[in-house]
Symmetry: D2
Subunit: 286 residues, 4 copies
């Protein structure tokens, strides 16, 4: 299939390569054109603008850094929507808020093209390994059509309804993630003050009902007070804030997530905004 | 080996049977003697008192319901300590607080016998399947000696230092457990208010870094608002209370666990004390 | 002085009347013109549009219901800013967020007129009695000029710096208010569960270091589980939400206010949005 | 009246002197006898033991430092209970937990004497000025009899029922106090991060519905980051912990007080245990 791919950041590189490896004809575009060179050597075409890429391909994926970038790449005069028309499909796999997803969707569908939001759960390694999780919302027929492409890039995909539901699911998942890593941080702190080895705690957790890849992956770093950034703490805090705000909007009290959010705010006040999200453990330890 | 086993409740039955299956000569005792009959038919000897059991065996395990029972079985005139002497070993696998563990330890070691606390993580099924986790403290040499016996009953064992450390580790683990299940409850509540299927959330969690046996096991019950009791909510709340109190004693703030404890108190106020600990999700949902 | 007054709601009526009683020549305007009739009988002039009122008076006050109304009355083609020019002063005493205050300020000052935000602390009775508290920000010289007018309507005024600081101070004050009333609610609930009379608690509080008009005023209603609305609970929750968000923006953790906000959300989920803000006590009681 | 007074600490000195000034014949006793000398010069008799003081007086008051002292002074062989008999009255004005009050009550009433617990709200200055608040429980007839004596030492007294209710009321009051001072701390922190003067906030609070002696008294110290000890922070934290525990016992969730308790624990972890309870503001500021 002829596929466009907008955005060659850490995530986009891995994803676009996996589409190429699967035999698709991929046209790439990136704000900083230099990043496209390596892809051209590997056989990709290079587009001049998002508009051109969308116009020239059957399906275009966009993996942008944040809501502002997702809007800019889609909405400008050379933007993706300007190149869209009936018969074209646009799949935004960036992580954005529901309002941004809806704004992009409106611009795209107004042209007659179809739209799917598909934010991912997973970071660099899963993007390279093709083990991402796609949380999608929007056009159900488009979801069915691009399913095989998503399966090339990920190990799991779910369709959640209208545009915005993918973004909301991601908030819920990250809210649970923030609480879990803070729970681990409090547990390690209490164990340590009790004279128990943190490693023994991780060992016990790994053997029981709470064993999970995140504890195995992040636990040793917490014990070593070392937090190399996989998911920046400030982004985790932003997701907690937005999740609590979503609860505000829907009248759902979230007393525990709100307490976790405050722990993250304390971590930011301590200068840990750019550390890994697991650095909340240092703030919790006190 | 000649082994005594005191306490044939839900947990004790499974554990004693596993020792018998492994070929050990087991003498059982239970407060309600009727429970011993089945074991006698399976080839176990039956002791008249804890004192007699301890005096007649090289190693005696005790699996009692709570701290009061653990003290009563060990400390009375016909109690375990009265039968102990140098050359005898006593391993208390009951879940008790550190102070009770220390009181029992003092009574046993005063006779010249050795003591190990070894509270377990795991409930009925793991007891039957021999997949418990032992959190031990006390006599290190005794830990080495009974290691093979613990391995018959469990899949994991750790030695944590002085008597009381096993009890403390269990509090830490259960504190993390309480926070995690409450995080899941808040996540399901927020998803539901957002118009997302709870099943989709569980599905997404199962595919990612937070996948754990507890979410898989308890999640569907939360969606169905059904909480058949594996671990009573009131016991989970007690452990949260004790963990927060341990933090109080050690000057370790635990803001998130404290918020979780209040959610559990709300669940108890709603009449859920005897439901499964996952019923906190109903209190959280509001 | 020739004074304009825009907005004759519950608050505006009391304030405009106090200006008239003090001998000023007042021109009123209200979205629903009928409200102006009574004022005309008392000697006020009636303006046709905010634009006309501002153009015809030296100082114009605006007391609007919410940020949307404050913007609408100022920014439209017949709005206040359209009538403003150098030599005219505009004082917005509505309670709005900092962004709205800044938008209105920008529109007014762009004409050469001066602007002061002056949101009030206090409700209907203080507005009638002339005992409001003004939290002002913007043009310092204008603050000095209208000081005597504010003193006619209030008992206290402070100048806090740039436009937006008045709005922020109001959030801080209302955040403290929300926590205090929730503290009283928790205290009454704990006293009651302990078999203590709530009235005795109020009595003791009234005699000590925590004695305050709010406890005296709201306490009996909490005991009677009766919450006639002076300040709607949903508005108090909104202010808590905004205060916590301000903390988010400024990296100031607010663990207690965040917990209070969740209690208010629970109250709203229980159907208490339009009750008095003290109805949080019912949510807290559980 | 012939009155005994046990305990001449900071509080007891002021209280005993007020009884003497009112014309009563007072016999004092103190663990460290030296403190009695000054009282002897002012006309007081000096007792050799609590037993002797109780035996020789119609009513004896005890103002001891903590539960251990309250028990020691009452229960030993030379203790107050040993000197008690029908016709004697014992009023314990120490601050103790309900269990201690009940133990002392049982020992006293077993002799035929009457007992009243009457812990006070107020510190050194109110003790000297005779403006304490008495929170009493126990013998209602005794409460009536000693009312005039309590009025000499205090400005307010309430009778709350059985022994233990005075202690519980004090916990409730101190729980509210802890939340209020933390609310002020959070408010000052948020104001400060917003670029608002803390003094302006105190000024605004002083003019409104939340004006209270505590804010007026403690606010300036918080602004100056200076916390001369009137009520030690560690004692306030202990009361919060006990209040939350009382809520645990009675199944009353106290989410806000629990969050406040954690803030106090953080303050202790920061080394502020012996500072004034208002130093929680430093922990909250982060």
């Amino acid at each position: 299939m002829k596929i466009g791919f907008l955005g060659l950041g850490i995530m986009g590189c891995g994803m676009a390569r996996n589409l190429m490896k699967a035999g698709h004809e991929v046209t790439v575009w990136n704000r900083t054109a230099a990043k496209c060179t390596a892809f051209a050597k590997e056989g990709a075409r290079v587009g001049a603008t998002p508009r051109e890429v969308v116009a020239a391909n059957e399906v275009t994926f966009a993996m942008l850094a944040d809501p502002a970038a997702a809007r800019a790449v889609c909405l400008g005069p050379d933007g993706a929507a300007a190149g869209a028309a009936a018969g074209h499909d646009y799949v935004d796999v960036s992580t954005v808020d529901a309002a941004t997803a809806q704004a992009v969707a409106a611009a795209v569908t107004a042209t007659g093209a179809r739209f799917l939001e598909a934010p991912v759960s997973g970071t660099k390694k899963p993007a390279e390994d093709g083990t991402l999780i796609f949380l999608t919302g929007g056009d159900a027929a488009l979801y069915e059509k691009v399913g095989p492409l998503l399966d090339v890039m990920g190990k799991k995909r779910v369709f959640l309804g209208a545009v915005g539901q993918g973004a909301r699911m991601k908030l819920v998942v990250n809210m649970i993630m923030g609480t879990m890593i803070t729970a681990l941080g409090e547990g390690i702190a209490l164990a340590s003050k009790s004279g128990l080895e943190g490693a023994a705690l991780l060992d016990v957790l790994a053997a029981g009902a709470m064993a999970c890849p995140m504890f195995a992956g992040k636990g040793p770093g917490i014990l070593a007070d070392s937090f190399p950034t996989a998911f920046p703490l400030k982004h985790q805090q932003k997701d907690l804030r937005l999740a609590v705000a979503l609860g505000d909007e829907l009248h759902q009290p979230l007393a525990v997530a709100a307490a976790v959010n405050e722990a993250y705010k304390r971590a930011i006040a301590m200068g840990l905004a750019d550390a890994d999200m697991s650095a909340v453990a240092r703030a919790v330890r006190g």
